[in-house]
């Protein structure tokens, strides 16, 4: 209960911060991407509440805001976990079994690609070549690369983040 209240408080504080930030973009349609980037820096992601604020302040439709967010992959619609796991699905990793590694991650974490665990600890994503083909198949957790993986090595890696 207390945790939920804290989270709500935190959310509202961040919304207020975003509203302050948007003052400089009043009626400026062309500042959409800039405003979204700054809003995401504050909130960590772009929930509908933030999108509405951006639409209202910049004078664009909510539809345009959503369209822009979903076009660019660096905008997140959902909260990102503390550990952002990205599985390389580039050609080299793919032929050396990246899909099996990804499947194991899905089972271990109990989430699908693009989702975040309920405790906000892990987010699972696929991505294109990360330039670590020599270590294929590879994943990145936040900024650290883990290579030459097999599905069985996954539980061990995840343990490090508990």
């Amino acid at each position: 209960m207390a945790v939920a209240l804290n989270q709500q408080q935190d959310f509202i504080e961040k919304l207020n911060k975003i509203e302050d930030m948007l003052k400089k973009y009043q009626g400026k349609r062309s500042a959409l991407i800039q405003a979204l980037q700054e809003a995401q820096a504050i909130m960590g992601y772009l929930p509908i509440e933030v999108q509405k604020l951006v639409a209202e302040n910049l004078g664009v439709t909510l539809s345009e805001v959503y369209s822009t967010i979903t076009f660019y992959s660096f905008f997140n619609l959902k909260p990102i976990g503390k550990y952002h796991i990205r599985v390389c699905l580039g050609t080299a990793c793919y032929v050396r079994g990246a899909e099996k590694v990804l499947d194991r991650l899905k089972t271990e974490l109990g989430i699908e690609v693009g989702d975040t665990t309920d405790d906000l600890k892990f987010t699972l994503d696929g991505c294109r070549c990360i330039g670590a083909c020599g270590l294929a198949p590879a994943i990145i957790v936040n900024d650290e690369v883990y290579g030459r993986l097999t599905p069985d090595k996954i539980p061990e890696i995840l343990k490090k983040f508990e």
């Binding site: 909510l62 539809s63 979903t70």
Partner: protein, 579 residues
């Protein structure tokens, strides 16, 4: 105008400097196929159907966005051009739901036509299809993205023509889908149900919610007394669905056709348009003389009403409290008409034929149950009526002329012009002028409020009182007027707003023209001209002279704005969220 000379397919062509190669070619009688191009609405070069070879250019160019230049040499029909168009079209078709014979746009589909014209006989690209959305929760508009070709004509229409902007391309690449935010239903976002997106769609990805089955069922039920009303704009558009000319007048074919479908009584919304003028004209005079809220804004157009509720709630008090003619009619059918004929209103099934998809939403509003029943049970668009007639084997062209039934089929020219932008204003002025001055108008044509200009303004002298009026059609145009009212910049007394460009003749339920046809001729103007011809040929042309309306007041309503009118013919509005 500065002209340049270029060569297209070896022909020397002169064209204005700022025109495009597509326009120059068209003038020279050379056809370049297009798909995403919708003149004046969507000119973005996205579909690459209109590619041409330009001497000196490295790759094929999209002619719809390519400006002409002096000495330019263009080839519109080379092996490379033809192959490119074919590949593009086949790729589009490879991700298209090819259920053409059962599609609502079968034989009126620009994709289908192009496939035929470009000689596509097989599709070389099998593969997965993108994930489709089917959204039929809106009472007015159905989205089926399995047929969408991502041309964005609907998006431009929604954002720029109507300034509503509730659909956009979401996601990217193969996942792209034209949808409301968070892939919600159109029913959950501030869509005004105007259906202009349907008119813009080259394929069957957007269509009206089909309610014909409800009407078939009612017509087959011997216990029901099924009546129908037809809107002013139908009589200048339905003929088009049967191969008639644009704006052909079919007023007298309508009763014949509807009787043959099995309707027990065929009435005319023009009657309640006249009634609307009596109520709204009185309301205007009341506000003008007694210091009421001005400007008064008309309330016939349900798309406009919902737009005002979402986007300009601060102006709701300016809206006339008059229901639309459709809903006035509905309320009277199950009260006045039921009493007069001794028919149990519970057994009356009330259908209206409208040029409008927003009317489908309007008839379900909770305010529209004044008779104790749903006042109008089903709204069919012009297109749905045409489908029913075709299904029943009724060819409009081969029918005899017939008259509407009395008394709710009696109308004047003032009722008829409700179908065109400026018509409600003109009809109101004819009546208000004569009521106030007690003099007959020398000239009843208020031509200053007619025509295709997006915003029209005029000052009318009524017995020494200068009345400033404004007329707007299309919601982006409406915004121009409304913003002036909000800022206090304008000093209007009376405003007419119609949601759709051209007014009801251009309604979202009307026959659909291809982009090519729309470029050829202004269909709204053609239909509006026909409406004014209908008016000119009427014996009675002023609402207050309608004998059936006079009888209605004598027998039943009492007087305009009276207690019964208030209960049956007037309504109220609700502020709605924008997000």
């Amino acid at each position: 105008m500065e002209m340049v000379t270029l060569t297209i397919d070896g022909i020397k062509v002169e064209a204005p400097k700022n025109s495009t190669v597509l326009e120059a070619a068209r003038k020279a009688g050379i056809k370049i196929p297009t798909l995403c191009f919708l003149k004046g609405v969507n000119e973005i070069g996205a579909c690459r159907m209109c590619v041409v070879e330009v001497k000196g250019a490295r790759s094929l160019q999209t002619s719809c966005v390519l400006p002409v230049s002096e000495g330019m040499e263009v080839i519109t029909n080379s092996p490379a051009v033809r192959e490119s168009r074919k590949v593009t079209l086949e790729l589009l078709l490879s991700d298209h739901n090819l259920e053409c014979p059962t599609c609502i746009r079968n034989l009126n589909c620009e994709l289908q036509t192009l496939a035929e014209e470009l000689g596509i006989q097989s599709i070389r690209y099998p593969g997965v299809k993108s994930k489709a959305q089917y959204d039929d929760f809106s009472p007015s508009i159905v989205r089926d993205t399995s047929k969408c070709i991502l041309c964005r004509r609907c998006v431009s229409t929604c954002h720029n023509v109507q300034s509503v902007g509730v659909i956009s391309p979401n996601y990217r690449g193969f996942e792209t889908v034209i949808a409301p935010v968070f892939d919600m239903s159109l029913n959950e976002v501030p869509c005004v149900n105007c259906g202009q997106c349907i008119l813009a769609c080259p394929v069957g990805a957007l269509k009206e919610k089909d309610d014909t089955h409800k009407v078939w069922q009612a017509l087959a039920d011997p216990d029901l007394h099924v009546i129908v009303q037809t809107a002013p704009a139908i009589r200048v558009s339905l003929g088009e669905e049967f191969g008639g000319e644009l704006g052909g007048i079919v007023t007298k074919k309508l009763p014949a056709a509807l009787r043959r479908l099995g309707f027990d009584k065929v009435f005319d919304t023009d009657f309640s348009a006249d009634l609307t003028i009596m109520e709204e004209g009185s309301e205007f005079l009341d506000r003008l003389q007694n210091g009421g809220k001005l400007p008064l804004i008309t309330s016939c157009s349900p798309g406009w009403i919902k737009f005002c509720e979402h986007y300009y709630p601060e102006l709701l008090d300016n809206l006339s409290t008059c229901k639309s003619p459709q809903q006035m009619f509905g309320a009277l059918v199950k009260t006045y008409y039921a009493e007069k004929t001794g028919i149990d209103p519970a057994k009356i099934f009330s259908v209206s034929i409208m040029p409008c998809t927003a009317k489908k939403y309007e008839c379900q509003r909770p305010e529209m149950f004044s008779s104790g029943y749903q006042d109008v049970d089903v709204v069919l668009t012009t297109r749905e009526l045409s489908r029913m007639l075709k299904e029943a084997g009724i060819d409009l062209r081969k029918l005899p002329d017939e008259e509407f039934d009395e008394p709710l089929g009696i109308s004047t020219g003032a009722g008829a012009i409700f179908g065109a932008t400026g018509g409600v204003m003109e009809a109101a002025l004819r009546t208000v002028y004569e009521i106030v001055t007690k003099k007959e108008l020398d000239n009843i044509d208020f031509t200053e409020v007619r025509g295709v200009d997006g915003v029209k303004e005029a000052t009318i002298d009524i017995d020494g009182t200068k009345v400033n009026v404004a007329v707007a059609h299309g919601l982006a145009n409406a915004r121009k007027i409304l913003d002036k009212v909000k800022s206090g910049e304008a000093d209007y007394h009376f405003i007419e707003i119609m949601c759709c460009p051209g007014g009801c003749v251009g309604g979202g339920g009307q026959p659909i023209l291809s982009a090519e046809e729309r470029w050829e001729v202004d269909y709204r103007e053609e239909r509006a001209n026909a409406i004014y011809e209908v008016d000119r040929n009427m014996k009675l042309r002023k609402s207050h002279e309608n004998p059936a309306v006079q009888t209605l007041y004598k027998e039943y309503l009492g007087e305009p704005l009276g207690e019964k009118s208030h209960k049956l013919l007037h309504t109220h509005y609700t502020k709605r969220d924008l997000f």
